[in-house]
Protein backbone atom coordinates (compact mmCIF):
# COMPACT_ATOMS: atom_id res chain seq x y z
CA UNK A 1 0.00 0.00 0.00
CA UNK A 2 2.76 2.48 0.92
CA UNK A 3 1.31 5.80 1.96
CA UNK A 4 -0.51 5.92 -1.34
CA UNK A 5 -3.64 4.54 0.25
CA UNK A 6 -7.01 4.10 -1.33
CA UNK A 7 -9.61 6.31 0.32
CA UNK A 8 -13.37 6.31 -0.03
CA UNK A 9 -15.35 9.32 1.05
CA UNK A 10 -19.15 9.34 1.35
CA UNK A 11 -21.35 12.37 1.89
CA UNK A 12 -24.64 13.37 0.33
CA UNK A 13 -23.27 16.88 -0.05
CA UNK A 14 -20.96 17.23 -3.02
CA UNK A 15 -19.18 20.21 -1.53
CA UNK A 16 -18.20 18.32 1.60
CA UNK A 17 -16.66 15.69 -0.64
CA UNK A 18 -14.81 18.33 -2.60
CA UNK A 19 -13.51 19.82 0.62
CA UNK A 20 -12.13 16.46 1.73
CA UNK A 21 -10.60 15.90 -1.70
CA UNK A 22 -8.97 19.33 -1.54
CA UNK A 23 -7.61 18.65 1.92
CA UNK A 24 -6.06 15.38 0.75
CA UNK A 25 -4.82 16.71 -2.56
CA UNK A 26 -1.23 17.20 -1.44
CA UNK A 27 -1.00 13.73 0.11
CA UNK A 28 -0.78 11.74 -3.12
CA UNK A 29 -3.70 9.47 -2.31
CA UNK A 30 -6.25 7.69 -4.45
CA UNK A 31 -9.62 9.15 -3.45
CA UNK A 32 -13.07 8.12 -4.61
CA UNK A 33 -16.01 10.20 -3.49
CA UNK A 34 -19.65 9.14 -3.47
CA UNK A 35 -22.85 11.02 -2.77
CA UNK A 36 -24.82 7.77 -2.96
CA UNK A 37 -23.96 5.28 -0.16
CA UNK A 38 -25.19 2.32 -2.24
CA UNK A 39 -22.72 3.10 -5.00
CA UNK A 40 -20.01 3.49 -2.38
CA UNK A 41 -20.83 0.04 -0.97
CA UNK A 42 -20.57 -1.54 -4.43
CA UNK A 43 -17.20 0.12 -4.96
CA UNK A 44 -15.89 -0.85 -1.49
CA UNK A 45 -16.76 -4.50 -2.09
CA UNK A 46 -14.57 -4.70 -5.16
CA UNK A 47 -11.80 -2.23 -4.35
CA UNK A 48 -11.04 -2.95 -0.65
CA UNK A 49 -10.05 0.60 0.34
CA UNK A 50 -7.57 1.46 3.09
CA UNK A 51 -9.65 4.16 4.74
CA UNK A 52 -13.29 5.22 4.63
CA UNK A 53 -14.85 8.55 5.61
CA UNK A 54 -18.56 8.79 5.97
CA UNK A 55 -20.97 11.52 6.91
CA UNK A 56 -23.60 10.62 9.51
CA UNK A 57 -26.75 12.19 8.17
CA UNK A 58 -27.58 11.11 4.64
CA UNK A 59 -31.08 10.76 3.22
CA UNK A 60 -31.03 7.22 1.77
CA UNK A 61 -28.80 5.44 4.26
CA UNK A 62 -27.27 7.06 7.32
CA UNK A 63 -23.62 6.66 8.31
CA UNK A 64 -24.33 3.99 10.93
CA UNK A 65 -26.26 1.77 8.51
CA UNK A 66 -23.47 2.25 5.99
CA UNK A 67 -20.78 1.25 8.51
CA UNK A 68 -22.74 -1.90 9.38
CA UNK A 69 -22.94 -2.86 5.70
CA UNK A 70 -19.24 -2.17 5.13
CA UNK A 71 -18.30 -4.31 8.13
CA UNK A 72 -20.05 -7.32 6.54
CA UNK A 73 -17.29 -7.51 3.96
CA UNK A 74 -14.46 -5.35 5.35
CA UNK A 75 -13.98 -6.15 9.03
CA UNK A 76 -10.68 -4.33 9.47
CA UNK A 77 -10.60 -1.20 7.31
CA UNK A 78 -10.55 1.98 9.41
CA UNK A 79 -13.84 3.86 9.10
CA UNK A 80 -14.11 7.44 10.29
CA UNK A 81 -17.49 9.01 10.84
CA UNK A 82 -17.62 12.74 10.36
CA UNK A 83 -20.10 14.27 12.77
CA UNK A 84 -21.12 17.64 14.05
CA UNK A 85 -19.72 18.52 17.46
CA UNK A 86 -23.20 18.92 18.85
CA UNK A 87 -24.41 15.51 17.61
CA UNK A 88 -25.94 13.37 20.30
CA UNK A 89 -23.54 11.01 22.11
CA UNK A 90 -25.91 8.13 21.37
CA UNK A 91 -25.13 8.58 17.66
CA UNK A 92 -21.45 8.20 18.39
CA UNK A 93 -22.09 5.14 20.55
CA UNK A 94 -24.21 3.57 17.82
CA UNK A 95 -21.47 4.29 15.31
CA UNK A 96 -18.87 2.64 17.55
CA UNK A 97 -21.11 -0.38 18.03
CA UNK A 98 -21.61 -0.57 14.28
CA UNK A 99 -17.84 -0.67 13.80
CA UNK A 100 -16.64 2.92 13.39
CA UNK A 101 -12.94 3.28 14.15
CA UNK A 102 -12.80 6.99 14.83
CA UNK A 103 -14.65 10.32 14.61
CA UNK A 104 -13.86 13.65 13.08
CA UNK A 105 -15.78 16.77 13.85
CA UNK A 106 -17.04 19.41 11.50
CA UNK A 107 -15.69 21.80 10.48
CA UNK A 108 -12.61 19.84 9.49
CA UNK A 109 -9.27 21.41 10.23
CA UNK A 110 -6.77 20.84 7.47
CA UNK A 111 -3.72 19.88 9.50
CA UNK A 112 -5.64 17.80 12.01
CA UNK A 113 -7.40 16.04 9.16
CA UNK A 114 -4.17 15.31 7.30
CA UNK A 115 -2.44 14.01 10.42
CA UNK A 116 -5.41 11.78 11.21
CA UNK A 117 -5.40 10.39 7.66
CA UNK A 118 -1.67 9.76 7.85
CA UNK A 119 -2.02 7.94 11.19
CA UNK A 120 -4.96 5.86 10.08
CA UNK A 121 -3.21 4.85 6.87
CA UNK A 122 -0.16 3.93 8.88
CA UNK A 123 -2.38 1.82 11.14
CA UNK A 124 -3.89 0.19 8.07
CA UNK A 125 -0.45 -0.51 6.63
CA UNK A 126 0.64 -2.23 9.85
CA UNK A 127 -2.66 -4.07 10.00
CA UNK A 128 -2.08 -5.48 6.50
CA UNK A 129 1.55 -6.34 7.26
CA UNK A 130 0.44 -8.15 10.39
CA UNK A 131 -2.22 -9.98 8.43
CA UNK A 132 0.32 -11.04 5.80
CA UNK A 133 2.70 -12.16 8.52
CA UNK A 134 -0.06 -14.07 10.29
CA UNK A 135 -1.08 -15.72 7.01
CA UNK A 136 2.54 -16.65 6.33
CA UNK A 137 2.94 -18.10 9.82
CA UNK A 138 -0.35 -19.93 9.44
CA UNK A 139 0.87 -21.51 6.19
CA UNK A 140 4.16 -22.47 7.83
CA UNK A 141 2.34 -24.03 10.78
CA UNK A 142 0.05 -25.93 8.43
CA UNK A 143 2.99 -27.24 6.42
CA UNK A 144 4.86 -28.24 9.58
CA UNK A 145 1.74 -29.87 11.03
CA UNK A 146 1.20 -31.79 7.83
CA UNK A 147 4.82 -32.96 7.89
CA UNK A 148 4.47 -34.07 11.51
CA UNK A 149 1.23 -35.85 10.68
CA UNK A 150 2.77 -37.63 7.73
CA UNK A 151 5.74 -38.69 9.87
CA UNK A 152 3.38 -39.85 12.59
CA UNK A 153 1.40 -41.77 9.99
CA UNK A 154 4.59 -43.30 8.65
CA UNK A 155 5.59 -44.33 12.17
CA UNK A 156 2.15 -45.72 12.85
CA UNK A 157 2.20 -47.58 9.55
CA UNK A 158 5.60 -49.09 10.36
CA UNK A 159 4.43 -50.18 13.82
CA UNK A 160 1.28 -51.60 12.31
CA UNK A 161 3.23 -53.31 9.55
CA UNK A 162 5.56 -54.87 12.12
CA UNK A 163 2.60 -56.63 13.66
CA UNK A 164 1.26 -57.56 10.23
CA UNK A 165 4.58 -59.08 9.19
CA UNK A 166 4.64 -61.13 12.33
CA UNK A 167 1.17 -62.25 11.43
CA UNK A 168 0.65 -62.86 7.75
CA UNK A 169 3.12 -60.77 5.77
CA UNK A 170 0.30 -58.92 3.97
CA UNK A 171 2.17 -55.64 3.99
CA UNK A 172 -0.51 -53.52 2.33
CA UNK A 173 -3.37 -54.81 4.47
CA UNK A 174 -3.06 -51.98 6.96
CA UNK A 175 -2.92 -49.35 4.22
CA UNK A 176 -6.04 -50.72 2.58
CA UNK A 177 -7.85 -50.88 5.93
CA UNK A 178 -6.90 -47.24 6.56
CA UNK A 179 -8.21 -46.14 3.15
CA UNK A 180 -11.38 -48.27 3.29
CA UNK A 181 -12.09 -46.87 6.77
CA UNK A 182 -11.56 -43.31 5.59
CA UNK A 183 -13.97 -43.82 2.68
CA UNK A 184 -16.64 -45.31 4.97
CA UNK A 185 -16.20 -42.54 7.52
CA UNK A 186 -16.55 -39.80 4.93
CA UNK A 187 -19.55 -41.50 3.36
CA UNK A 188 -21.51 -41.68 6.61
CA UNK A 189 -20.78 -37.99 7.25
CA UNK A 190 -18.18 -38.11 10.03
CA UNK A 191 -16.27 -34.84 10.25
CA UNK A 192 -12.80 -34.42 8.81
CA UNK A 193 -11.10 -34.41 12.22
CA UNK A 194 -12.56 -37.83 13.05
CA UNK A 195 -11.86 -39.19 9.58
CA UNK A 196 -8.24 -38.05 9.71
CA UNK A 197 -7.76 -39.60 13.14
CA UNK A 198 -9.33 -42.83 11.91
CA UNK A 199 -7.14 -42.87 8.83
CA UNK A 200 -3.95 -42.41 10.83
CA UNK A 201 -4.93 -44.78 13.64
CA UNK A 202 -6.55 -47.65 11.75
CA UNK A 203 -3.13 -49.19 10.95
CA UNK A 204 -2.77 -49.94 14.67
CA UNK A 205 -5.85 -52.13 14.90
CA UNK A 206 -3.85 -55.38 15.20
CA UNK A 207 -0.86 -54.00 17.14
CA UNK A 208 -1.76 -56.34 20.01
CA UNK A 209 -0.74 -59.31 17.87
CA UNK A 210 2.81 -58.49 18.88
CA UNK A 211 1.89 -60.04 22.24
CA UNK A 212 0.50 -63.27 20.78
CA UNK A 213 2.83 -66.28 20.59
CA UNK A 214 3.96 -67.22 17.08
CA UNK A 215 2.74 -70.77 17.65
CA UNK A 216 -0.79 -69.43 17.68
CA UNK A 217 -0.45 -66.44 15.40
CA UNK A 218 1.22 -68.34 12.58
CA UNK A 219 -0.51 -71.67 13.08
CA UNK A 220 -1.72 -73.07 9.78
CA UNK A 221 -5.28 -74.24 10.18
CA UNK A 222 -8.03 -73.63 12.65
CA UNK A 223 -7.22 -72.59 16.21
CA UNK A 224 -8.61 -74.70 19.03
CA UNK A 225 -10.76 -73.11 21.71
CA UNK A 226 -7.88 -72.32 24.05
CA UNK A 227 -5.69 -70.97 21.25
CA UNK A 228 -8.54 -68.78 20.03
CA UNK A 229 -9.02 -67.50 23.53
CA UNK A 230 -5.37 -66.40 23.57
CA UNK A 231 -5.71 -64.96 20.08
CA UNK A 232 -8.62 -62.80 21.20
CA UNK A 233 -6.35 -61.13 23.72
CA UNK A 234 -4.68 -59.16 20.91
CA UNK A 235 -7.50 -56.62 21.29
CA UNK A 236 -6.84 -55.92 24.98
CA UNK A 237 -3.06 -56.17 24.53
CA UNK A 238 -3.29 -53.59 21.73
CA UNK A 239 -5.39 -51.37 23.95
CA UNK A 240 -2.88 -51.62 26.81
CA UNK A 241 0.02 -50.82 24.52
CA UNK A 242 -1.63 -47.66 23.22
CA UNK A 243 -4.07 -46.41 25.86
CA UNK A 244 -1.59 -44.60 28.09
CA UNK A 245 -0.15 -42.60 25.23
CA UNK A 246 -0.58 -38.83 25.08
CA UNK A 247 -0.71 -38.90 21.28
CA UNK A 248 -4.08 -38.24 19.69
CA UNK A 249 -3.76 -40.98 17.09
CA UNK A 250 -2.29 -43.51 19.49
CA UNK A 251 -5.19 -43.01 21.90
CA UNK A 252 -7.64 -43.31 19.04
CA UNK A 253 -5.76 -46.43 17.95
CA UNK A 254 -6.30 -47.88 21.43
CA UNK A 255 -10.09 -47.63 20.99
CA UNK A 256 -9.87 -49.21 17.56
CA UNK A 257 -7.62 -52.03 18.78
CA UNK A 258 -10.05 -52.80 21.61
CA UNK A 259 -13.29 -52.62 19.65
CA UNK A 260 -12.65 -53.79 16.09
CA UNK A 261 -13.71 -57.38 16.89
CA UNK A 262 -16.95 -56.43 18.60
CA UNK A 263 -20.05 -57.45 16.66
CA UNK A 264 -23.25 -55.52 16.08
CA UNK A 265 -25.27 -58.40 17.61
CA UNK A 266 -23.17 -58.40 20.80
CA UNK A 267 -21.41 -61.72 20.11
CA UNK A 268 -17.99 -60.25 19.46
CA UNK A 269 -15.03 -59.76 21.77
CA UNK A 270 -13.49 -58.73 24.14
CA UNK A 271 -16.40 -56.89 25.81
CA UNK A 272 -19.40 -58.27 23.93
CA UNK A 273 -20.60 -54.76 23.19
CA UNK A 274 -23.51 -54.42 20.78
CA UNK A 275 -24.98 -51.88 18.38
CA UNK A 276 -24.21 -48.25 19.06
CA UNK A 277 -22.34 -49.16 22.25
CA UNK A 278 -19.45 -50.20 20.05
CA UNK A 279 -17.32 -47.11 19.28
CA UNK A 280 -17.96 -46.00 15.70
CA UNK A 281 -14.22 -46.22 14.93
CA UNK A 282 -14.28 -49.92 15.86
CA UNK A 283 -17.42 -50.54 13.80
CA UNK A 284 -15.86 -48.93 10.75
CA UNK A 285 -12.54 -50.76 11.03
CA UNK A 286 -14.42 -54.05 11.58
CA UNK A 287 -15.98 -53.80 8.09
CA UNK A 288 -12.71 -52.72 6.46
CA UNK A 289 -10.62 -55.34 8.27
CA UNK A 290 -12.89 -58.30 7.64
CA UNK A 291 -13.43 -57.39 3.99
CA UNK A 292 -9.69 -57.11 3.39
CA UNK A 293 -8.88 -60.22 5.43
CA UNK A 294 -11.32 -62.26 3.35
CA UNK A 295 -9.55 -61.16 0.17
CA UNK A 296 -6.13 -62.07 1.60
CA UNK A 297 -4.45 -65.43 1.92
CA UNK A 298 -3.77 -66.34 5.55
CA UNK A 299 -2.04 -69.37 7.12
CA UNK A 300 -5.41 -70.73 8.10
CA UNK A 301 -7.43 -69.91 4.95
CA UNK A 302 -7.37 -69.31 1.23
CA UNK A 303 -8.10 -65.98 -0.43
CA UNK A 304 -11.81 -65.49 -1.08
CA UNK A 305 -13.30 -64.48 -4.40
CA UNK A 306 -14.15 -60.79 -4.57
CA UNK A 307 -17.92 -61.30 -5.04
CA UNK A 308 -18.03 -63.80 -2.16
CA UNK A 309 -16.28 -61.32 0.15
CA UNK A 310 -18.73 -58.55 -0.78
CA UNK A 311 -21.68 -60.89 -0.25
CA UNK A 312 -20.34 -61.90 3.16
CA UNK A 313 -20.23 -58.28 4.31
CA UNK A 314 -23.68 -57.57 2.87
CA UNK A 315 -25.22 -60.66 4.49
CA UNK A 316 -23.80 -59.70 7.87
CA UNK A 317 -25.26 -56.20 8.04
CA UNK A 318 -27.10 -56.02 11.37
CA UNK A 319 -25.41 -59.25 12.52
CA UNK A 320 -21.67 -58.68 12.60
CA UNK A 321 -21.63 -55.17 11.21
CA UNK A 322 -23.38 -51.86 11.64
CA UNK A 323 -26.13 -51.87 8.93
CA UNK A 324 -25.46 -48.20 8.14
CA UNK A 325 -21.85 -49.08 7.33
CA UNK A 326 -22.83 -52.06 5.23
CA UNK A 327 -25.09 -49.75 3.27
CA UNK A 328 -22.16 -47.36 2.80
CA UNK A 329 -19.95 -50.31 1.82
CA UNK A 330 -22.49 -51.21 -0.89
CA UNK A 331 -22.48 -47.70 -2.30
CA UNK A 332 -18.70 -47.41 -2.22
CA UNK A 333 -18.05 -50.44 -4.43
CA UNK A 334 -15.98 -48.49 -6.99
CA UNK A 335 -13.99 -46.67 -4.32
CA UNK A 336 -13.12 -49.94 -2.59
CA UNK A 337 -12.06 -51.46 -5.92
CA UNK A 338 -9.78 -48.49 -6.60
CA UNK A 339 -8.17 -48.81 -3.16
CA UNK A 340 -7.80 -52.56 -3.61
CA UNK A 341 -5.98 -52.08 -6.92
CA UNK A 342 -3.85 -49.19 -5.71
CA UNK A 343 -2.53 -51.18 -2.76
CA UNK A 344 -2.50 -54.63 -4.31
CA UNK A 345 -0.07 -56.95 -2.46
CA UNK A 346 1.16 -58.48 -5.71
CA UNK A 347 2.49 -55.16 -6.94
CA UNK A 348 4.29 -54.16 -3.78
Amino acid sequence: MGLKGKIVSIDDNKLNLMLIESMLESMNLEIRSFTDPSHALDYIKISHPDLIFTDYMMPEMDGIALIKRVRETEPDVPIVMITAVDDDDSIKLSALNAGASDFLYKPLKLYEFQVRVKNLLSLRKNQLLLKDRAALLQREVETATLKIRMREFETLTIIGRASEYKDTETGNHIKRVAHYSKALSEHIGMDSEFTDALFFSAPLHDIGKLGIPDSILLKPGKLDEQEFSVMKEHTTIGYKILADSEGKYLKFGADIALSHHERWDGRGYPNRLSGDNIPICGRIVAVSDVFDALLSKRPYKQKWEYDDARRFIQENGGIMFDPQLVDAFDKLKEVFLDIMHSYDDADK
Partner: protein, 125 residues
Amino acid sequence: MQEENPEPVGGFAGFSFGELQAQIGLAPDVLASLLREFCEDSEADLKKAVEELAAGNVRNSRDLLHSVRSAAGNMRLSFLSEKLKNADEFVKKNDTVYVKELIKEITDILIFIKNETIRRREHGT
Protein backbone atom coordinates in the same frame (compact mmCIF):
# COMPACT_ATOMS: atom_id res chain seq x y z
CA MET B 1 -16.17 25.32 18.32
CA GLN B 2 -16.43 28.00 15.65
CA GLU B 3 -13.47 30.29 15.67
CA GLU B 4 -14.89 32.97 13.40
CA ASN B 5 -13.32 36.34 13.66
CA PRO B 6 -15.80 38.44 11.72
CA GLU B 7 -14.31 41.07 9.54
CA PRO B 8 -16.66 43.44 7.74
CA VAL B 9 -16.16 43.19 4.00
CA GLY B 10 -18.19 45.21 1.54
CA GLY B 11 -20.83 46.03 4.09
CA PHE B 12 -21.46 42.52 5.31
CA ALA B 13 -20.09 41.42 8.67
CA GLY B 14 -19.21 37.80 9.04
CA PHE B 15 -17.22 36.92 5.94
CA SER B 16 -13.56 37.45 5.33
CA PHE B 17 -11.84 35.43 2.67
CA GLY B 18 -8.42 35.96 4.22
CA GLU B 19 -9.60 34.94 7.67
CA LEU B 20 -11.36 31.88 6.28
CA GLN B 21 -8.33 30.86 4.28
CA ALA B 22 -6.16 31.09 7.39
CA GLN B 23 -8.61 28.96 9.33
CA ILE B 24 -9.16 26.24 6.75
CA GLY B 25 -5.56 26.13 5.61
CA LEU B 26 -6.30 25.49 1.94
CA ALA B 27 -4.54 27.32 -0.87
CA PRO B 28 -6.44 30.51 -1.90
CA ASP B 29 -7.26 29.22 -5.38
CA VAL B 30 -8.59 25.94 -4.04
CA LEU B 31 -10.66 27.72 -1.41
CA ALA B 32 -12.01 30.19 -3.95
CA SER B 33 -13.10 27.41 -6.24
CA LEU B 34 -14.75 25.55 -3.34
CA LEU B 35 -16.54 28.68 -2.18
CA ARG B 36 -17.85 29.40 -5.62
CA GLU B 37 -19.09 25.84 -5.97
CA PHE B 38 -20.64 26.05 -2.50
CA CYS B 39 -22.46 29.28 -3.27
CA GLU B 40 -23.84 28.10 -6.61
CA ASP B 41 -24.95 24.69 -5.30
CA SER B 42 -26.43 26.20 -2.16
CA GLU B 43 -28.38 28.84 -4.05
CA ALA B 44 -29.91 26.10 -6.21
CA ASP B 45 -30.65 23.91 -3.18
CA LEU B 46 -32.29 26.77 -1.29
CA LYS B 47 -34.45 27.60 -4.28
CA LYS B 48 -35.50 23.97 -4.40
CA ALA B 49 -36.13 24.00 -0.64
CA VAL B 50 -38.58 26.89 -1.02
CA GLU B 51 -40.36 25.06 -3.86
CA GLU B 52 -40.61 21.87 -1.81
CA LEU B 53 -41.95 23.81 1.12
CA ALA B 54 -44.55 25.51 -1.08
CA ALA B 55 -45.59 22.06 -2.35
CA GLY B 56 -45.99 20.85 1.23
CA ASN B 57 -42.96 18.54 1.11
CA VAL B 58 -41.57 19.57 4.47
CA ARG B 59 -39.26 16.55 4.75
CA ASN B 60 -37.57 17.24 1.40
CA SER B 61 -37.25 20.91 2.26
CA ARG B 62 -35.58 20.10 5.58
CA ASP B 63 -33.19 17.62 3.90
CA LEU B 64 -32.08 20.33 1.51
CA LEU B 65 -31.62 22.87 4.28
CA HIS B 66 -29.64 20.33 6.27
CA SER B 67 -27.40 19.59 3.33
CA VAL B 68 -26.61 23.28 2.81
CA ARG B 69 -26.10 23.74 6.54
CA SER B 70 -23.71 20.81 6.68
CA ALA B 71 -21.66 22.28 3.82
CA ALA B 72 -21.71 25.75 5.40
CA GLY B 73 -20.49 24.25 8.67
CA ASN B 74 -17.70 22.45 6.88
CA MET B 75 -16.72 25.69 5.15
CA ARG B 76 -16.64 27.37 8.57
CA LEU B 77 -19.36 29.79 7.55
CA SER B 78 -20.98 29.66 10.94
CA PHE B 79 -23.15 32.73 10.42
CA LEU B 80 -24.80 30.87 7.55
CA SER B 81 -25.08 27.69 9.58
CA GLU B 82 -26.93 29.57 12.29
CA LYS B 83 -29.35 31.14 9.85
CA LEU B 84 -29.97 27.76 8.20
CA LYS B 85 -30.60 26.20 11.59
CA ASN B 86 -33.06 28.97 12.28
CA ALA B 87 -34.77 28.38 8.93
CA ASP B 88 -35.07 24.69 9.74
CA GLU B 89 -36.76 25.52 13.04
CA PHE B 90 -39.35 27.64 11.25
CA VAL B 91 -39.90 24.96 8.59
CA LYS B 92 -40.78 22.65 11.46
CA LYS B 93 -43.23 25.28 12.71
CA ASN B 94 -44.59 25.56 9.17
CA ASP B 95 -44.00 29.32 9.14
CA THR B 96 -43.56 29.47 5.38
CA VAL B 97 -43.52 33.24 5.15
CA TYR B 98 -40.67 33.69 7.61
CA VAL B 99 -38.75 30.75 6.13
CA LYS B 100 -38.93 32.40 2.72
CA GLU B 101 -37.62 35.65 4.22
CA LEU B 102 -34.74 33.82 5.89
CA ILE B 103 -33.88 31.93 2.74
CA LYS B 104 -33.89 35.16 0.76
CA GLU B 105 -31.49 36.62 3.32
CA ILE B 106 -29.23 33.55 3.15
CA THR B 107 -29.29 33.62 -0.65
CA ASP B 108 -28.20 37.26 -0.60
CA ILE B 109 -25.26 36.36 1.63
CA LEU B 110 -24.32 33.55 -0.71
CA ILE B 111 -24.37 35.94 -3.65
CA PHE B 112 -22.22 38.34 -1.67
CA ILE B 113 -19.68 35.63 -0.83
CA LYS B 114 -19.58 34.50 -4.45
CA ASN B 115 -19.05 38.04 -5.74
CA GLU B 116 -16.47 38.72 -3.09
CA THR B 117 -14.61 35.55 -4.05
CA ILE B 118 -14.72 36.40 -7.74
CA ARG B 119 -13.61 39.95 -7.05
CA ARG B 120 -10.74 38.69 -4.94
CA ARG B 121 -9.67 36.29 -7.66
CA GLU B 122 -9.80 38.93 -10.36
CA HIS B 123 -7.96 41.55 -8.38
CA GLY B 124 -5.78 39.23 -6.34
CA THR B 125 -6.80 40.91 -3.12
